[in-house]
């Protein structure tokens, strides 16, 4: 980080080595190049040590954004993202991002300042028990009470965050630990983390036997495939076996969008072809997915006739929500490669599935009027941007439209708050992604509700000239909630009307971010051009019809067989 050009009185040159210096040194040693944070009292020693370090510190404007940006960076790099905040309110502001990383198994190391150890437990100024508050949403957490332990504990945090099933690890750093002088030489680096262990042969054999006699198998892909480096193995498995495949929201991009026998997303807003295949299947090969209720609908009517093979790196997932006929715990790439049933006599089944895929494909040509039809806009945008574009979504109808109508070549290119469903993710995640992949087209797709949850981050985008493109689909309402009120609450519309939104283009410009507004379908092609050719940051504000809904839809509590259509 470079110091801001503020002239200070000749400071005494820092000769002491403190715990805070070791925090910075350990991060450097571990190959961290960028951290997202916000300073404050208890963490100030670390900010002091950052000056002159090799780390690039990104000053966000709300700690939640630091956690989301670090999350996006981690999803793209596969390495733990790092965020940093002070004690008390700084730490509590990080909690949503920690929970988000936990729900989506994202490797993250969260560094929080804490009041000095002597004051811990006394309700000191800006003391909150962030260790206690975050317990349910961390993979692990550590309070470091001895400055000499800092390198070992931070290395441990990275190893835990990145190994096995990834997740967030919190390191709480009391101020006295950070300020104390360390009385030892810096300890040598520890050994690299162990590789995930392979599944046992008996598990693979049991699954292979089930596969060999299946007539209507479906390959159910989850986020674990991308996280476990098993994308190639999954594609190879699909190509080798020709088993019809579906994916969860998090696994979009595991299959190539044009892959044969690939039926798209399953679940609440999944494709008809995917849901019908799963419902009719006699064998479900669940790979790195966890039978989440948004994917399964009513659990006891989900794939009612199917036997289950459940493969997961995390043994604790197997059998959690659905009893399995064969469980495979271990490295997914390895397990998929070893799962080889030979020739499968399932041609009639493949045909049924692909016929439905054609019959129920999304249509874009029947939207009435001349207004902007968001699904078509997203399809055009995705095609213009190319299959390697990266989307950072917020939460709502627009998020589901992205999953339905955009093409992804890799799962990590679809950044979405899947497990937590946290509005406010999109803009900071887009910033984190565009910093990590400055040469990629990174597009934040957001709604008029969601963008207001972290709109202050336009300042961050501007400050660092982040090449993020923001597509704001403005329906003047909390669209997804409105849709549910329309269909499941007797059109009793309650607190979803955002008629008095600010002029978003004006807002963006006041942050120094280029922006424009479009209203009609005819303006879409030029808008896409402008968005994609800008060096960014840029915001395209698109006014869409507030009555537009996401289809198809499985009503809450219903079976995936009961999909509603417009």
């Amino acid at each position: 980080m470079t110091a801001l050009p503020i002239t200070l009185p000749e400071a005494e040159t820092q000769q002491r080595t403190t715990g805070a210096h070791w925090v910075v040194r350990t991060l450097e040693e571990l190959g961290v190049h960028r951290i997202f944070g916000y300073p404050g009292g208890a963490i100030m020693p670390v900010y002091d040590a950052l000056v002159g370090s090799k780390l690039e510190h990104i000053l966000v404007r709300h700690e939640q954004a630091a956690s989301f940006a670090a999350d996006a960076q981690a999803r793209l790099s596969g390495k733990a993202g790092v965020c940093l905040a002070t004690s008390g309110p700084g730490a509590t502001n990080l909690l949503t991002g920690i929970a988000n990383a936990y729900m989506d198994s994202v490797p993250m190391v969260v560094l929080t300042g804490q009041v000095p150890t002597g004051l811990m437990g006394t309700d000191a100024f800006q003391e909150v028990d962030v260790f206690g508050m975050s317990l349910p949403v961390v993979k692990h957490s550590i309070i470091v009470r001895e400055p000499e332990e800092i390198p070992a504990r931070i290395r441990e945090a990275f190893a835990i965050a990145e190994s096995g099933r990834p997740g967030p690890v919190l390191v709480d750093l009391p101020k006295d630990t950070l300020q104390a002088e360390v009385g030892q030489p810096y300890p040598p680096q520890s050994l690299p983390a162990a590789k995930p262990s392979p599944a046992s042969s008996s598990e693979i054999d049991a699954a292979t036997a089930l596969l060999a006699c299946a007539k209507r198998p479906v390959f159910y892909m989850g986020g674990g495939i991308g996280l476990g480096g098993a994308v190639e193995a999954a594609r190879d498995f699909m190509a080798r076996t020709g088993i019809p495949a579906v994916s969860t929201l998090k696994a979009m991009g595991c299959a190539h969008p044009d892959a044969k026998n690939y039926l798209g997303m399953l679940g609440m807003h999944g494709t008809r072809a995917a849901n019908m295949a799963v419902q009719d299947s006699d064998l479900l090969i669940c790979c790195g997915a966890r039978f989440d209720d948004r994917a399964t609908g009513k659990p006891d009517s989900f794939a009612p006739d199917a036997r289950i093979i459940h493969m997961d790196l995390d043994a604790a997932e197997i059998g959690k929500l659905r009893n399995v006929d064969a469980g495979i715990a271990g490295d997914l790439a390895d397990a998929l490669a070893r799962l080889d049933p030979g020739y499968l006599d399932i041609d009639p089944w493949r045909q049924v599935c692909s016929q439905r895929k054609t019959e129920f494909a999304f249509r874009y040509d029947d939207a009435p009027g001349s207004g902007i039809f968001a699904p078509a806009l997203l399809k055009q945008l995705s095609e213009a941007a190319g299959d390697d574009f990266i989307a950072a979504c917020d939460v709502g109808q627009h998020q589901m439209w992205v999953a339905q109508h955009c093409r992804f070549s890799r799962p990590e290119h679809h950044l979405t708050s899947a497990g937590l469903g946290a509005m406010g993710y999109g803009l900071p995640a887009g910033i984190g992604a565009a910093m990590e992949r400055p040469d990629a087209q990174v597009i934040t797709v957001t709604g008029d509700g969601s963008i207001m949850m972290n709109i202050q981050e336009l300042a961050t985008a501007r400050r660092y000239s982040v090449p993020v493109k923001i597509l704001l689909l403005d329906n003047s309402s909390l669209g997804l909630v409105r849709q549910w009120q329309e269909y499941f609450f007797d059109q009793n519309f309650s607190e979803i009307d955002l008629y008095d939104n600010p002029d978003f283009a004006e807002v963006a410009r006041s942050f120094g971010v280029e922006a424009f507004t479009i209203h009609s379908r005819a303006e879409v092609p030029a808008a896409i051009d402008r968005l994609l050719s800008a060096t960014g940051p840029i915001l395209a504000h698109c006014l869409i019809d507030p009555r537009e809904n996401v289809w198809p839809l499985v009503p809450p509590g219903k079976s995936n067989a009961d999909m509603m259509e417009d």
Partner: protein, 98 residues
Amino acid sequence: MSHTLNIRIADREGALVRLIGLVERRGYEICAMDKSAGDAGIADITMQIAPRGGERRIDVLMRQVARLFDVHAIRQGMPAHIAAGTARPGGFQCRHPQ
């Protein structure tokens, strides 16, 4: 139906509360519990637990406990000193044994 779990943990800050929190959050009531700290920062925990509300799979809970970093080992069953009713001081009994 209640179960008895034997869990060996690293006896460090937060390990016990993390363990108890997980068991409670995953839908179990802790009916009785005993902790005995041994040597070298290791402690043995015995818990008698029962699912709250609907039935849950104990093997899933055991794998969720096992993946905690502070947990060294877990098994089902009751160690001798508890079975004999001579739980060491430090244990507690809750008021609603199942």
